[in-house]
Symmetry: none
Subunit: 125 residues, 4 copies
DNA sequence: GTGGTCTAGACCACC
DNA sequence: GTGGTCTAGACCACC
């Protein structure tokens, strides 16, 4: 059973998006596997303290994006294909990097220094 | 006159550090020049809604780091040398990049993809 | 015993007509056979929640149309001949098709597409 | 300005779907053109008596289906391409015909009679 | 004003 | 219990 217990929200992004992002991160980390059952809307709402309607919106988004499937009245499960995993990885990477590049440029950091620092700080691959 | 009006704080970092960081960002962006007058402690507190004691602490930090000098009873001014500018730039860059590398590794992003995406997104230098 | 229990009414057509139509549909489906006893007026009213007067009106209509016969004090029975069955089928078919053609034309559907889609969707005869 | 005033809902289909369907019908009838402004969420809610949240849901659906585009804070407009028109026509036709075929089969109508009746009733193309 | 998000709570069908 | 729909009403940023 996928758990969202203890998930903290920031108020810059819609909560339903943050839920989807949290699940996507768990997927990439391997914490969540294909076929794993999702909590019910009510359960998710209880775990996170959000309104069941917001939970419903999150499920709708996740279903639209394809990695959660709702099975009639039998609850929802995570539903992954290799292509989906790759797409999620691409998206997450791009999101993080876009934000970083935006911040870096806004602060007029030098491209060269940034790249050299990343290499220095990254550690062993 | 340097202004901190409208500055928003996040709650992950002490407020007095955020004030110093804001000033450092302004310095790097060229918005703030050497010799420019700083607001008084009271003025800073009024502009940002923080406690005068916190303002005092921020001034102490900025003075210790060398880019703000208090002139007896004549208020404080920004005080910059090329070496200080470089140091500030180094620090800011390192801070941003460290955070980014931490996030990227926590999400198991691939180093190669990250570098190639940064190059793609950075745009013209 | 013919049953009307659970029958749901829409509010576009008089209820007594809907009762007759329901019986006719049951006849065509073979659920209701010649000679089968009908519920009493009161029984029909109780099964469907309608007013006994409306039940009476439905019986009058069904008797006029010929497929229900009232037997003195012995209640009513369904009363069918091959010709009646055909007439009922004609009427039901015509009703359904008329409504469909009206809708189709109101929405400017193309005759050709409609026919081809019906053939496609009808399945094995 | 597209209007939904006076639109009546049946309770078999979600209201937000009925709104989208109404718009699609208007598009096929030529009553609604590409680029035409849509009412605001609040306006739609007022015209039809539905809750602004349901109006929002309808807009989201229509945007997802591609024939309504929301333009920042400047309201929404109908947005049509020939391909979209065709898709809408296909969908509406198929929906109506599917329902009809389902009813016809449920009532054991004869395919031959149905086709001949449609031809008879359709009138001039 | 505009679109968008969220909570609170009711109600529905299906099991 | 499950998913899904809807109303009522607040609040947000952007203009």
């Amino acid at each position: 059973m996928v758990s969202f217990a203890g998930l903290r929200f920031d108020d810059r992004t819609p909560v339903y998006q943050q839920i989807a992002e949290h699940l996507k991160r768990q997927i990439l980390l391997g914490t969540v596997q294909d076929g794993e059952p999702m909590p019910s809307r009510r359960e998710l709402a209880a775990q996170t303290g959000i309104n069941p309607n917001t939970a419903q919106k999150a499920y709708r988004l996740m279903a639209e994006e394809g990695y959660v499937r709702t099975d009639g009245n039998n609850g929802s499960t995570v539903c992954l294909t290799p292509a989906l995993r790759t797409a999620i990885e691409e998206e997450l990477t791009r999101g993080l990097v876009e934000q970083f590049v935006r911040d870096a440029r806004a602060n007029r950091l030098s491209y060269k220094k940034v790249i050299s620092l990343i290499s220095e700080l990254w550690g062993e691959e």
